[in-house]
């Protein structure tokens, strides 16, 4: 058994690999690829500083300037729990962070917390680049900042900019931040000596003018007259200037993306961040319980219903009952869930139109649910439904939607299994012994026909998972389906890929668990 599980787990590796290739390729080969996201913000993010920064960020995150296989490899490395560490991904532990903060917040040099955070980030980056001890880096940084020198300022500016997420960070903001970081004496000195950070004075913030700028006036003589004019010229590229400084400093541009192939290690899988800046794994951890709650509530109901319907259809085989159960299940199964959901809302939930308004039409909890007691209770204001009943009340319609289509296949299978058991020898023996029909049905044939239902669970779970997309969208429940749906509209590749990956993983595990359960339940099944 163990060897079987092990073999299955091994076989899951190529499958998962294929799933990741498929999911990655669908996004990577789409028009716009990973960058298509910025097109969705109404074109507002297609130009300007923010857009360039965002584009740069995405280019870096997905290595878009590299060939496709490299992109895939890096993405796989990021989402895989076993992989290599990228230089820039070295994050300070909470303890190190505290130590660095303590070191830097030493008077007189950093006074405000808002100034401290960029400094800590800077230390983090330099430490990641150089592989140095962060405390040591913090000490050097402090020394550099405290020492008034133009070169030091420049060096810091370059490093500071690396610490920003990209190379296009506004020099304006940088100069201001640097000015704040430096001690007043150093700043005064830098000012006096005309130190600039990429052409801007350190302490005086200037509005950045991207693109064309006016250069110094030029003059030329023509037949004794002197003409003077200004030439519009392109600003020197910021990235060029920075890479020059960085190379002088011995820091490799893009070194942050270097992968340390020597030491593979187990790390937390990083599913990336959503466009709103939240971690995808957090989003999924929030959404998954909602979907599971709906489905795990629905499954016992589906099983109970389908077992009874299947058994009675088999018992009254060929009669009106059988025919009716068959027609009803196929009919229910054919009803599109969006239709049923909208009808239920229109009849029982909608507040806008004349409906019974028995159920809420939206959400998983009442707005005041957090203040409710868990169990229902009575107080001065009468009956209080409590958190549990409130959730059940909200879930009633979604669960109904999940249930009604679920038992068609199951009751059909159950009916077939009971019919097959009926023709077995032991049933004939039982009948020959004179047992009552009820005992034969429930004690003998029913118990032996339960096996196929185990196989159904792996089929029904992912199916319901998929079906819950529409249910969650209609009823406004923030589950996995809604998460994927919203991400689809925002073209948020990290969230989309994360949701699809997790859904596939769940399905694969459901199949494995099914096979194991099958072997446990039926001693005749052996995988060894």
């Amino acid at each position: 058994m163990l060897s079987y599980i092990f073999r299955r787990l091994l076989l899951m590796i190529p499958t998962l690999f294929g799933v990741t290739v498929l999911v990655f390729l669908v996004v990577a080969l789409s028009p716009g690829g990973f960058n298509s996201a910025k097109l969705t913000l109404g074109g507002g993010m297609t130009q300007g500083e923010d857009a360039r920064r965002q584009a740069k960020l995405w280019e870096r995150r997905y290595a878009l300037d590299r060939p496709l296989p490299v992109q895939y490899g890096r993405w796989l490395n990021r989402v895989s729990p076993v992989g290599f560490v990228m230089a820039g991904d070295t994050k300070l532990t909470a303890k190190q962070r505290d130590a660095v903060s303590l070191e830097l917040s030493d008077q007189p040099f950093v006074r405000r917390d808002a100034d401290l955070q960029p400094a800590v980030r800077l230390v983090e980056t330099i430490a990641a680049y150089r592989g140095d001890d962060p405390i040591e880096v913090a000490r050097i940084l402090k020394h550099e900042l405290a020492t008034p020198s133009v070169e030091g300022t420049l060096r810091l500016a370059a490093l500071m900019d690396v610490a920003e997420e990209d190379f296009t960070a506004g020099t304006d903001a940088l100069a201001t931040a640097l000015g704040r970081l430096m001690n007043p004496k150093a700043r005064a000195l830098a000012d006096r000596r005309g130190a600039t950070v990429f052409g801007r004075p350190v302490s005086v913030p200037v509005k950045p003018q991207p693109g064309w700028s006016q250069a110094d006036p030029r003059t030329f003589d023509f037949m004794g007259f002197s003409f003077s004019f200004r030439v519009l010229q392109r600003e020197p590229s910021l990235a060029d200037a920075q890479s020059r400084v960085l190379s002088e400093l011995g820091i490799e541009v893009g070194g942050r993306d270097r992968i340390d192939f020597a030491s593979p290690k187990i790390k937390a899988p990083d599913l990336g961040d959503s466009q709103r800046g939240r971690e995808v794994s957090d989003l999924i951890l929030e959404a998954l319980p909602v979907t599971l709650l709906i489905n795990l509530t629905a499954i016992p109901i589906i099983y109970t219903l389908s077992i009874f319907m299947g058994v009675y259809a088999a018992k009254y085989r060929g009669t009106v009952v059988d025919w009716g159960v068959g027609a009803a299940t196929v009919g229910l199964w054919s009803m599109p869930v969006m239709w049923v959901g909208m009808m239920l809302i229109a009849w029982f939930a909608s507040a806008e139109y004349p409906s019974l308004q028995w159920f809420p039409s939206n959400g998983l909890h009442d707005l005041q649910a957090d203040r409710m007691a868990f169990l229902p209770s009575w107080n001065d204001e009468g009956f209080q439904r409590g958190y549990m009943l409130d959730t059940m009340w909200h879930l009633a319609l979604p669960v109904l939607c999940t249930v009604y289509g679920g038992f068609a296949v199951m009751s059909k299978v159950m009916r077939g299994a009971v019919l097959e058991a009926e023709s077995a020898d032991y049933i004939r023996t039982a009948r020959a012994k004179g047992l009552s029909e009820r005992v034969i049905l429930w004690r003998h044939s029913f118990r032996n026909s339960l096996l196929p239902l185990i196989t159904m669970i792996s089929g029904i779970l992912p199916a319901m998972f998929a079906g819950s997309v529409i249910i969650e969208v209609i009823f406004g429940l923030n589950g996995m389906g809604k998460l994927g749906f919203d991400a689809a509209f925002q073209k948020d590749p990290d969230v989309l890929m994360g949701v699809v990956l997790i859904a596939s993983l769940l399905k694969l595990s459901a199949e494995l668990i099914r096979d194991i359960c099958y072997a446990i339940a039926d001693p005749r099944v052996s995988y060894d």
Binding site: L16, V23, P31, S334, P336, M338, A346, V500
Partner: protein
């Protein structure tokens, strides 16, 4: 012993006259068609086909007959698009193929595809060539009177004529050739007529309200309209303030949509999308599934192992998520939708075909075929496939249903077809976007989806019962 015939001759005549033994698949299909559920399902599918084909004659803003200043015109007929005419030809050629006796299924298919192909080809190629001819020089004789167009109009029927030559070649000694001769002539005439037909104006630039305005201004003498006098793309711009989200009236039997279009008209035209998505998506899935599954089953070994991994990959990803992912990142259109639903739906077919082929490949007759030196394609497609395809047909029937469900789900989520293609899911989506209180936008499209899915499921169930030896008749 009359007429000098020996008993042997009589016997052989008797044998020849006896009904041909039908194949297993044919028996399954006949058994299925005899069941009540399948009859109901088929009835609805046939109704849908009729609605799809005759939609422009039932719902159209263009009148059948239009008289202005004593001048009679027939706008409905001149505005029929090439899709409309092709669907008509498809229905007719389908009927012809069904009614011809004494032809094998494959040859009937050839006739059907040939006639339809002629119609589509003649109508799509001819205007393109005509346009090229006009562009190449309005004054030149070659361009203006459209010798290129003539070439195009001739090319299509000629090509299909040549294609039919193959069938002729195979059937020349059979008694069916007068039939085929007639068909070939018919096809030639059909292609020529359709190819030389004046092209209808672009539906996007047609002003639908002109007829209503002319009637209101009483400049038109008389008009005969279709039962529903609104095209699906007629957003009633002349009446925009009152046209949107109207509950059913006599004028709009199923109300109007959020954009002012007639819901009944859109519902009618949406049957086309439903049918075509069902057929093409399932067709793609079936072809891929049969090829991959067949290879896996027949060759087994390493091919089977690799194929199973592919199957696992595609079955591991929940299809709806994959569809959402693809529809979100690619541009949406009906072709992409069909291809995507087809590409994600082949897994079930592959598994079934593989199991059947694994079972069949060690059978004696396959061994005999192999020993006789039959090429692999012959073994796979002539010997294995006809005997292993029946269970897959059951699955295909459910496949139709699920393809339609997927399409309407995606349209409902707003990820489906673009607004110019009417679809049932789209109408439901409009209801949701407008608060869900427009019952006519919920009830009718939902009912249509339900009936269609139910019909296909009923056919599938009946076929499954016909296949199951315990429930077979």
């Amino acid at each position: 012993m009359t007429d000098g015939q020996t008993p042997e001759i009589q016997l052989s005549r008797k044998v020849a006259r006896r009904a041909k033994p039908t194949s297993w698949v044919a028996r399954i299909v006949l058994d299925t068609a005899g069941r009540t559920g399948a009859k109901l399902g088929l009835a609805w599918v046939v109704t849908m086909i009729c609605m799809a084909v005759f939609a422009p004659f039932i719902a159209n803003s263009h009148p059948y007959r239009w008289v202005v200043d004593g001048k009679v015109s027939y706008p409905l007929f001149t505005h029929l698009s090439w899709q409309d005419l092709s669907l008509l030809v498809m229905l007719l050629s389908g009927l012809v193929a069904l009614l011809i006796r004494g032809l094998a299924f494959g040859k009937k298919m050839v006739i059907f595809v040939w006639l339809t192909g002629t119609a589509v080809f003649a109508q799509t190629i001819a205007p393109t060539l005509r346009l090229v001819g006009q562009l190449s020089g309005p004054d030149s004789v070659a361009g203006s009177d459209g010798s290129l167009a003539i070439t195009g109009a001739l090319l299509a029927p000629l090509l299909s004529f040549i294609a039919l030559g193959y069938v002729f070649y195979r059937l020349i000694r059979r008694q069916a050739w007068p039939w085929l001769g007639g068909l070939a002539l018919g096809g030639l005439i059909l292609g020529l007529t359709l190819g030389f037909r004046d092209q209808p104006p672009d539906p996007d630039s047609v002003i639908y309200s002109q007829y209503r305005e002319a009637l209101a201004a009483e400049t038109a003498d008389s008009a005969v309209f279709a039962p529903i006098a609104y095209s699906p793309g007629d957003f009633q711009r002349d009446n925009i303030a009152y046209a949107m989200l109207q509950p059913p009236t006599w004028d709009h039997p199923m109300g109007t949509s959020a954009e002012g279009a007639d819901v009944a008209s859109r519902m009618l035209y949406a049957t086309r999308v439903a049918l075509i998505i069902g057929f093409i998506a399932t067709g793609i899935a079936l072809v891929i599934g049969v090829i991959i599954g067949g290879m896996m089953g027949y060759f087994s070994g390493i091919i089977d192992l690799l194929g199973m991994r592919l199957v696992e990959i595609f079955s591991a990803i929940p299809v709806i998520f994959l569809l959402i992912l693809i529809c979100a990142v690619y541009e949406r259109n009906i072709y992409l939708m069909m291809i995507v639903i087809g590409l994600t739906g082949w897994v079930g077919y592959a598994i079934f075909i593989r199991a059947e082929f694994l079972k069949l490949r060690s059978m004696d007759y396959v061994m005999a075929a192999r020993a006789a030196g039959t090429p692999i394609a012959g073994i796979l497609f002539r010997h294995l496939l006809p005997n292993g395809v029946a269970p897959v047909l059951v699955l295909a029937s459910f496949g139709f249903a699920s393809a339609i469900l997927f399409e309407s789900s995606l349209s409902f989520l707003g990820l489906g077809l673009p607004p110019q293609d009417p679809s049932w899911g789209q109408l439901l989506q409009e209801a949701r976007a407008n608060g869900g209180g427009q019952w006519w936008l919920v009830l009718y499209p939902g009912l249509a989806i339900f009936l269609t899915v139910f019909a296909y499921n009923l056919i599938g169930e009946a076929m499954r019962d016909a296949l199951d030896p315990r429930t077979a008749k």
